[in-house]
């Protein structure tokens, strides 16, 4: 009575948050074989792709429009936006069943959908688990916020994206 009941996951999450200081939650997803991640705080929801309506004359990266509960949302193909060629045909109709739309909300007043190949998992990254993008050397694309190594040396490598510059000009 009156004692809050925590699930195991919640307890673990609370413990981690306590020990790691300012851990930030990232959603990892797959795009052209690589793992990328964006801050969960910038996402509103994850959608199974509804029918997408092409917009003629739109910028190339814009896949089209979808309706999310009556609201129009512009969907951007993240591969095209990042200039990663799609392996097989470049067709909207032939979407992988695992493909998802990440509905972003970065406070610009417009929610924009990002099409990704597959949503993977949520990581809580501590600052020491994030390498600065400077590590990449050479040209530093403004939309890469860093490299995440959530599970040490042998674990996966996440390319952390900063959505703001990415969405500023599709």
């Amino acid at each position: 009575m009156g004692v809050p009941v925590h699930t195991r996951t919640e307890r673990r999450a609370a413990r981690r948050a306590g020990e790691g200081g300012r851990r930030i939650e990232y959603l990892a997803f797959r795009l052209a074989g690589e793992s990328y991640a964006v801050q969960i705080a910038d996402l509103a929801e994850i959608l199974k792709p509804p029918p997408i309506t092409e917009v003629p004359r739109a910028p190339w990266a814009v896949l089209g429009l979808v309706s999310v509960r009556g609201r129009l949302v512009t969907v951007i193909d993240l591969r095209r936006r990042l200039h990663i060629a799609r392996a097989s045909g470049d067709s909207v109709a032939a979407l992988d069943p695992k493909a998802r739309i990440l509905l972003t909300d970065v406070g610009s007043g417009e929610q924009i959908g990002l099409l990704v190949d597959e949503v993977q998992e949520v990581w809580r990254l501590a600052p020491e688990q994030i390498e600065s993008p400077d590590a990449l050397g050479g040209v530093e694309p403004g939309h890469i916020a860093g490299i995440g190594r959530p599970a040490g040396v042998d674990g996966p490598i996440l390319i952390l994206l900063d959505l703001r510059p990415l969405l500023a000009a599709p």
């Binding site: 917009v55 004359r57 990266a61 979808v66 512009t74 007043g109 417009e110 969405l167 000009a169 599709p170």
Partner: protein, 722 residues
């Protein structure tokens, strides 16, 4: 308001929203009254009641803003109240400088309200300056009524009992050179009310009753003698026949034969030499400057800060009735469901019943839709009133005399459209005054009336509202336009020669167009006409221009009555659905290939003896997949103003009422679409912006303008892409 719809009302504090909308209304009313006052002052006759109205409105605003902690507004109101009180009591002369300040105060109110809504920075500096100027006005107060008392044979004790307002009226009547009369009347206490009213009624046509006071003499237990002080232009004989009866005597209040100055009125300065005379010159100078707020001046938005609509309660009652009807349908469906569950009704019977209910439901829904649309409608007068204020201000800035004639202010249009209209209209009026109306001397030389006229006309035409802005100014000089367009690189000399007059006039709507070499105070400000046009296009409207040199210019805006719900024709082009607003569709016919000719590389269809240029949407939009295999096609003939264009499509799908939604900011650069709509099955269809497309396809200037950028269908992809 196309962007973001109506959804940006701050959550939470409802009372505050109400305050804002009430304050907005008061400020709007203030603007209206001020205009009326301005008119009466121009005619040289002051209506004291108007000043009283203004005073009351400001007083209310003061109370409201104090209540909601909007200190800046409260402070302004307080100072304004003082000035208006002084005006009311004649302590300050009502002239153009003071009126200008009052008009500025109204726009400052507007800015404060906008700031309260978080749309603008607090106009701190402007309000400070305004307060200072208003304070100066209050300091310029003139003295009491020493003049009349000294000049007329009046009991000095009289002034001890006059109210300040009466004193002012006395003074101003004397100043206007009216004669003063003293009426002594004896009233029976039993009938004094009606008798006094009678007397007042008899006297009123001849002048103003300033005050009436008991004389204290000649009174007995059941009678009272009043002394009535009256100002009149009429001769004593006329007055005598009007008011005299037994018990009433009338006499002229004689002027004192004083050696002092006979001229009236004594100037304030001579009465009170100690009052620091308000430096007239600095005040004028600071008035003629534009308000020092971020270079905005009048260019500041005229939009209201609230999105509230006032609704006639009867309209709501009708809606409520319809809701009642819908509830009945719902009950019927529930009963039917129950019967179906118990299997007490056969399937055929069930189907018949359902069909009947569906019909009823549809009918009520249509009524509901109509009713709600009606609620959204507001009279254009809302924006016209504000424009009248702008006309006054701009014409003073440019030293032009302009008369604004408004007709059709009662024409109703969707609230959202009204809001979007105010700024473009303001700009067009600014243009008409700045570039159109000539100076007084030029006008007189040209044999025109000295005062220019701008006519603002509105009327409904089918499902559209037409707004005309017509000036009787200098008109547009086609040669000057061409020269300017060439200078700006909008057209080349060769191209210009090929243009018709109409096409030449259309050049003023091109981005970057201006006739002025350097950005002056006038042309360098605000948006260009191209923005006006684009904004109108977003509202589904078109702007047309007609001008005759030396006679004047007329701009015509044609707008749909509502944005919210439109009836569209759904068409299919290479597997994609598009919606064409039916308001723009003249007819849709099967494409008869035999009737298509190619004239100068443009396909033209002959329909009943007229030629209609064709536009293949598949090509225009560069749609590659799924070429129509059926081998047939249709033409949707669209008409915008008096241009016609046939859009070639693969299939006509049907008509539908849709709620049109704007494309997001990320698709801002994409031209040719008015928005998109969800079709009910999660599919989205783009709604064609027929006006923009027609223009893009038909207007040669624009084709040439973009001709350097390879394929027109691709050009936006390049601009937006990288």
């Amino acid at each position: 308001m196309v962007e973001g719809g109506g959804g940006r009302i701050d959550p939470g504090d409802k009372a505050r929203d109400e305050f804002l909308s009430e304050a907005q209304e008061l400020v709007d009313g203030l603007g209206r009254d001020l205009l009326k006052l301005d008119e009466t002052v121009k005619k040289g006759q002051l209506d004291p009641e108007l000043v009283n109205d203004l005073f009351r409105a400001v007083h209310t605003l003061k109370g409201l803003s104090g209540l909601f902690g909007v200190t800046r507004m409260a402070g302004l109101s307080h100072q304004l109240e003082d000035v208006l009180d002084d005006l009311r009591l004649g302590r300050v002369e009502l002239g153009t400088p003071v009126l200008d300040l009052l008009f500025r105060a109204v726009s400052a109110y507007g800015r404060i309200l906008a700031a309260e809504k978080g749309q603008l920075e607090e106009p701190a500096q402007e309000v400070e300056q305004l307060l200072l100027l208003l304070g100066q006005v209050a300091m310029r107060k003139t003295g009491g009524v020493a003049g009349p008392a000294a000049l007329y044979d009046l009991d000095p004790g009289l002034f001890g009992v006059l109210t300040e307002y009466e004193e002012h009226r006395l003074r101003s009547n004397v100043q206007q050179g009216l004669a003063l009369y003293r009426i002594r009347a004896r009233f029976s206490l039993l009938t004094i009310d009606s008798a006094l009213d009678e007397l007042k009624a008899a006297a009123r046509p001849h002048g103003e009753i300033i005050t009436y006071l008991p004389t204290g003499s000649g009174a007995d237990a059941d009678a009272i003698e009043l002394e009535i002080l009256m100002a009149s232009r009429a001769s004593i004989d006329v007055l005598r026949t009007a008011v005299e009866r037994p018990d009433v005597t009338l006499e002229v209040v004689r002027r004192r034969e004083a050696p002092g100055p006979v001229s009236l009125p004594p100037s304030p300065a001579t009465i009170r030499p100690t009052t620091p005379p308000l430096a007239e010159a600095p005040l004028r100078a600071s008035l003629s400057r534009r308000p020092p707020v971020g270079g905005e001046g009048v260019e500041m938005s005229l939009r209201s800060v609230t999105q509230t609509v006032r609704v006639d309660i009867r309209k709501l009652d009708r809606l409520m009735t319809i809701v009642g009807e819908l509830a009945i349908v719902k009950t019927a469906i529930a009963k039917l469901t129950e019967r179906a569950r118990r299997r007490s009704t056969g399937p055929r019977e069930l189907a018949v019943e359902l069909q009947r209910l569906n019909r009823t439901f549809e009918r009520h829904l249509a009524q509901m839709q109509g009713g709600i649309l009606e609620v959204r409608m507001v009279p254009l007068g809302q924006v016209f009133d504000k424009l009248a204020r702008v006309v006054r201000q701009i014409s003073r800035e440019h030293d032009r005399e302009v008369n604004l004639v408004v007709t059709g202010a009662e024409t109703e249009i969707d609230k959202l459209i009204v809001e979007e209209l105010s700024d473009p209209l303001m700009h067009m009026i600014r243009n008409a005054i700045g570039h159109g109306i000539e100076s007084r001397d030029e006008r007189l030389t040209a044999g025109k009336p000295a005062v220019g006229t701008i006519a603002l006309n509105a009327f409904q035409k089918g499902n559209h509202v037409v707004i005309e802005i017509e000036d009787d100014g200098a008109g547009m000089n086609p040669e000057a336009i061409i020269a300017a367009a060439i200078r700006r690189g909008i057209v080349t000399g060769d191209e210009a020669r090929a243009l018709t007059t109409r096409e030449v006039l259309a050049l003023v709507f091109m981005p970057g167009f201006t006739t002025t070499e350097t950005a002056t105070d006038l042309s360098g400000r605000g948006m260009g006409l191209d923005v006006v046009k684009t904004n109108m296009g977003k509202l589904g409207g078109v702007v047309d221009i007609a001008s005759e040199l030396g006679i004047g210019t007329k701009m015509t805006i044609t707008l749909p009555i509502t944005l919210a719900i439109i009836n569209v024709l759904l068409v299919e082009v290479r597997g994609r659905l598009f919606a064409v607003p039916l308001a723009n569709v003249e007819e849709a016919i099967a494409l008869d290939a035999a009737q298509v000719r190619t004239i100068e590389s443009r396909e033209v269809l002959s329909v009943r003896g007229t030629s209609i240029p064709l536009c293949r949407l598949g090509h225009l939009f560069d749609l590659t997949r799924e070429e129509s295999s059926r081998g047939r096609a249709f033409v949707v003939i669209a008409r915008i103003a008096n241009r016609r264009l046939g859009f070639v499509v693969d299939e006509l799908v049907g008509q539908q009422d849709i709620v049109i939604k704007p494309l997001g900011r990320s698709l801002h650069a994409v031209r040719g679409f008015a928005g998109a709509t969800e079709l009910g099955d999660q599919r989205v269809a783009l709604v064609l912006d027929v006006g923009a497309l027609t223009e893009e396809v038909l207007i040669p200037v624009e084709n040439r303008f973009f001709a350097t950028v390879d394929d027109p269908g691709r050009r936006f992809a390049r601009i937006g892409g990288e």
